[in-house]
Amino acid sequence: MRLTRRYYHVKDVKWRDEISFNDGILSISKKQLLDEISPLMKSIDSIDFEIAKPGESCRIIHALDAIQPMYKVSGNGYSYPGYFGKAETVGEGDTNLLKGFSIIQSAPLPWETTSASSGLLYPRDAIIDMSGEIAGISPFSQTINLVMIYKLKEGKSSAEYDNDIRLCSLKVSEILAKTTLLREPDEKELFALDELNSNLPNVVLVWQCQNQGVYSNTNLYGQNIDNLVPTLLHPNEMLDGCIVSGNYVWPAFKVPTYLHVNHPILLELYRQHGETINFKGVIFSRSHNPTNWHKERSANFCVKLAKQLEAQGLIMAWEGGGNAAVDGMLTIQAAEKNGIKATTITFEFGGIDGTEGILLVDDVPEADAVISGGSIEKQYILSKMDRVVGGDVLRLNKESGGLFPSAYDSYTFDNTTHLYCSGNQAGHSKLFAESY
């Protein structure tokens, strides 16, 4: 499987009457986008668009998923397969990407019981700052973002909102990335695993994602992974968008589609392929398995696949919090017991100074190589912002009746759970807990 990614650097985005891409300037027409996506807006009243750029005094709130705009030029299937047609296997041919640019969904999904009856399954407010203290935490403070601000119709189900919000943004991704057709890219990169060096150790990535119901699901080729038995993916399938996130419950621990598609660990393994290791593939599994029995079953399946791939090394990475950590740790244990060496990355706890309680919810003695993604139990003071995209107030503490501070003001959080991607679960950021 050989995939060429053709990158088109987006230097600026401007509102225009027509959608086009010229010399790094992406011109966007709101009207043209709405004309094309309106048939998909069944549970959506209206959509507004705003642009947020790096360094701006700007805060994005109610963020849901973030998408890498890309368009499949050749090879089977299309980008983000399974949504607008057949679930054809992707990962071969050529794909055009708008680099340094993302689409971010923002919607205040309803809190009322009909739509979010559960303590878990409601989207906690997710915050992205384009400048200031927390800017280095989310990858989207470094990209130009087209924020899609959804106004929802009343009385629709969670499943309907979830589906329609996703389809609209995937369609916008396709429309915008299609502007690159027949243009020369700024950069090209070939992704292939065919040249193995028998002197180097074989390594797999186990990528384990959350799936607990609508608003906390992960989709593989257009279908959630509730019943997924750990399966083997070619990394190129992920590069072409076979995994799409539908998980908004814990902003810190979630992994948006943009990072599934530009998975930092996967890309690093590709960089090392043929240099220090042979990258043998991605084992994709579901986390939050319901009981220990199910968790061990899943862990054993992952390790069996790794053995069949003759892996000597395994990187365990997961989306989600404590429950997922148990799945991950059992997989590390099973790997080491089968002679496969493992490392992992996770956020940690430890309180204000790192000495309070334990650092990890779960661990096993075999997990002796753990990279810190940073502690979520640290205080962060959000700066004042001139502009807020997605609304005017934050929506916090649903379980205590709700708290709605102005989103423009400075606000102090005692932990990072509301800060988008602060758990660093895919290793995108440099955030870590330094040991003193």
Binding site: G321, N323, K341, T355, G357, K398
Partner: protein, 351 residues
């Protein structure tokens, strides 16, 4: 400005007073430099000097009573010497010498407010006792590694004397104190997790960024002797609360628990109770809260006489992301109430 001033502690052996046979010797104060105190100065480029060397026998300091008897003397020596920093060791893997260094450094730092530093092997038993309180430079196992460790000890001692900001443990070479703060690394998490795997695969040295912990064993309670004479309580970590969450329990990272009266109730009514737990789909619990607190079934057993009585309250908290220290606090609080109320056994439902 004059040179900075260090006071240096060594044991009887490094002071040249003798070996094991002199381990009971008390406090000695020297004006001349001895052992490591002599070797360290050249790393300070005339910015600091050792102004006093003090020494005790290892057994003497390890005896708490004897140790306390010399604290005033030690304190006076250090005050008179106008010390900017206090240095002890290196103790390498010598257990009693390690404890002596840790004890005195900890005293000087906490009671006198003077920064202190020592050095020892990471497996020295004193490390666990003092690593949270003082800086302990990691040394090789034996005195053969003296030359390796002295420059690091010298460097940190000078920084401490100058009251400079002390860098991370991996940079300064001291054993982690357990304090951890968020910072930005020069590489991403993805780069580091791959790099560490490559090292592990090539049998090169690697250091986990998140330290391993040692697990604590919890011994189970004694079995219930006679069920029909027992009062049974119900506890859940599944977040069941009266609708509206009157105690404002947190739905994750819990710090407290709630206690709710069920006296005279035959079951937990849906609609009046709900789960606020932030880690699972609570729809089925909200539909029938007895799935979490099985009051309906237990009332039946109470009527049949299989159990004597159901305790009049149930306890609730959320077990999501709740750290072990807080869990212990919550657990102790609940257990204290249960013991005071003469409850014999409890059913704990988790989710």
């Amino acid at each position: 400005m004059g040179r900075m001033r260090a006071v240096y502690y060594i044991n009887q052996f490094y002071a040249g007073l003798g070996g094991e046979e002199r381990a009971d010797i008390g406090l000695n104060v020297f004006n001349e430099k001895k052992g490591p105190a002599l070797a360290i100065e050249k790393y300070w480029n005339d910015e600091m000097e050792v102004v006093k060397v003090i020494s005790c026998g290892d057994n003497f300091v390890n005896n708490d009573e004897k140790f306390h008897s010399i604290l005033t003397d030690i304190s006076n020596v250090i005050k008179e010497a106008k010390a900017d920093v206090f240095i002890a060791g290196p103790a390498f893997n010598a257990g009693r010498y390690g404890v002596a260094c840790g004890k005195i450094c900890s005293y000087v730092k906490k009671e006198m407010g003077i920064p202190s530093v020592t050095a020892m092997y990471y497996e020295n038993p004193a490390v666990n006792m003092y690593e949270k309180d003082i800086y302990i430079i990691e040394s090789p196992e034996t005195a053969a590694g003296m030359r390796k460790v002295i420059p690091k000890l010298a460097n940190l001692a000078l920084k401490l004397a100058k009251r400079e900001k002390i860098g991370a443990s991996r940079i300064e070479g001291y054993l982690p104190t357990g304090h951890r703060y968020n910072e930005f690394h020069d590489k991403t998490g993805a780069q580091r997790v791959v790099e560490m795997l490559v090292k592990k695969l090539n049998n090169q040295k690697y250091t986990t960024e998140v330290p391993l912990r040692t697990l604590e064993q919890v011994s189970p309670a004694e079995p219930v002797k006679v069920l029909s004479e027992s009062t049974i309580a119900m506890i859940t970590t599944g977040g069941l609360v009266p609708k509206g969450n009157p105690d404002k329990l947190k739905q994750a990272f819990s710090v407290s628990y709630g206690k709710y009266n069920i006296e005279g109730m035959d079951s937990i009514h849906n609609g009046r109770y709900e789960s606020i737990h932030g880690g699972y789909d609570t729809t089925l619990v909200d539909e029938d809260p007895n799935r979490l607190i099985p009051l309906d079934e237990l009332r039946g057993l109470e009527k049949e006489g299989m159990i004597k009585k159901i305790y009049n309250h149930f306890f609730s908290t959320c077990g999501v992301g709740t750290n072990v220290e807080n869990s212990k606090k919550i657990g102790r609080g609940i257990v204290t109430e249960l013991l005071n109320e003469k409850v014999d056994a409890a059913i704990l439902s988790s989710t």
